[in-house]
Amino acid sequence: MSLVVDIKKRLGDFCLDVSFTAEDGIMGILGPSGCGKSMTLRCIAGVERPDEGHIELDGVTLFDSVGRVNLRPQERRVGYLFQNYALFPNMTVRQNILCGLRSEPDRAKRERELARYVELMQLGGLEGHYPAQLSGGQQQRVALARILVNRPKLLMLDEPFSALDSHLREKLLVEMKGILEGYGGVSLAVTHSRDEAYDLCSTIALMQNGSIHTLKPTKQLFADPGTVAGAAMTGCKNFSRAKKLGEYELEALDWGIRLTTARPVPEDVTHVGIRAHYFSPGCKQNNYPVTLTGSIEEPFEDIVCFRWKSQPGGTPDLWWRIPKQFRPQGVTKDYALGIAPANVLALRDTNLK
């Protein structure tokens, strides 16, 4: 199965212009709030109408502005898990799930499916409860059961964990991953959290200002985001302007140092990025003296701010994240940090914010 999306929609000053193809598996759409992620899902579901474009799911055209096709949401077979789960508050768990089975004429089969998903989603004993009586995690499972009994061809999750307490999140992430893998078809998950995207999704689309600028397998995206915006969205904190020096070497202009890379440096490189986790005093490569300028303490990690000795003035300090037990004790002014060449990210694009 596959989902093909190529749509445009104008909303005041904002312009949504999205085009991508998703295959079986979980694709994440990662981007800051207000970048058009939810609007994209709404257009696919058919509750919003794009100005122009084409949406195709599993060979069926859902929307086509040229061919004047615009299937009603009821005809699209798209499962949509809303951020607030959108359970019907006046119906019990059982009635809510049965709403997903109204097209099934056989009563016995409806009951069988209901029982199967109540079991699968661990909702036994809650059938008579109203949504307001359930915890956030239970509500999410009811909403998923209601969607899955309807046998959608596409599953879309809008910020699936944002309404949950943080300690529940990790547990439910694991559950959700299992459910989505069991479902097997195309899933889209919208999130602004790079951790959720990393844990849940096999591919990630990075979205900004209404369009998708990068679409890569998750591991590859984090290892080599390619663009400054992509590196920033995947959590990279340290950037410098850069100039190519050789096939595997570049100069970090804002840091006054030369860096060796593991991947060939692209001709049009404009920046270099280094994630805060990837500095190491023990690494002999790309090793340069630094001056420590301050630190922020977190529960399990410390953030140490530093500058390269050769760093020109007027440039921001760098961030180094280090687990507490590895934090250098009694550090004096003379200290040196290295970076493994594989962790030097050569980046393109100039819209660094």
Binding site: R72, P73, Y80, F82, Q83, F88, P89, C99
Partner: protein
């Protein structure tokens, strides 16, 4: 004692409430979906009877339904006459009470979480199922309040009613027109009886609403 005004008032209020219930909900639902300019204009038109003096409303209704007027004349040919008949009172009560239902229903619909409708649609539920089984129960508090307000207003309608259907004992007399007539003719005792009847009905209606609301709040918990 002639109980005709009570029966007449109750049937006028009941029938006009039913009309206003459906018309108010229908308008509230569809006006909310219109483009902004049209919505603004219609909103003003539909709310006008609330702010106009009832006599002005009555005057407009006479312009439409008067037996010398085109609409009134045409209705007359098919045997319907709203002037000086009790069912003319249904028209005046409905027109005057309509804005109360329309505005409270619209307020209730505007507070509706539209993702509930969207999720219903993606689950394949028909729009009428979503309307009657999800939207209406969700908004029931506001709709109930609107219905009761409309009923109370219809029951107490005087100005437009007296202009369109007048006061004929045993034919068009309502509680409110009777109170005025008895007072005008110096029959204070009869006027007082109808005042007390009116008070009793209003008290019962308000009490019922309070009980219903309490029950609902208890049930929702």
């Amino acid at each position: 004692m002639d109980w005709y005004p009570l029966i007449n008032s109750l049937r006028i209020a009941a029938i006009s409430s039913v009309i206003v219930f459906f018309a108010g909900i229908f308008c509230a639902y569809y006006v909310a979906k219109l483009p902004r300019v049209l919505k603004g204009v219609l909103d003003v038109v539909l709310t006008l009877p609330l702010v106009l003096p009832p006599t002005v409303v009555g005057y407009f209704l006479l312009l439409i339904f008067g037996v010398q007027r085109p609409v009134g004349m045409w209705l007359d040919t098919i045997g319907i006459r709203f002037v000086m008949t009790w069912y003319g009172g249904v028209i005046t009560a409905a027109v005057v009470a309509f804005p109360l239902m329309y505005r409270t229903a619209r307020g209730a619909f505007e507070s509706f979480d539209s993702t509930l409708a969207y999720s219903g649609q993606t689950l394949g539920l028909s729009n009428s199922f979503i309307f009657w089984r999800i939207r209406m129960p969700y908004c029931r508090q506001g709709i109930l309040a609107g219905t009761v307000l409309a009923f109370a207003r219809a029951l107490g309608e005087y100005g437009a009613t007296s202009m369109l259907i007048g006061y004929t004992p045993g034919r068009t007399a309502t509680i409110s027109t009777s109170v005025y007539q008895y007072w005008r003719t110096g029959d204070d005792r009869s006027a007082m009886i109808w005042v007390l009847v009116n008070l009793a009905i209003s008290a019962v209606v308000l009490l019922t609403v309070n009980l219903l609301e309490k029950k609902q709040r208890g049930g929702a918990r």
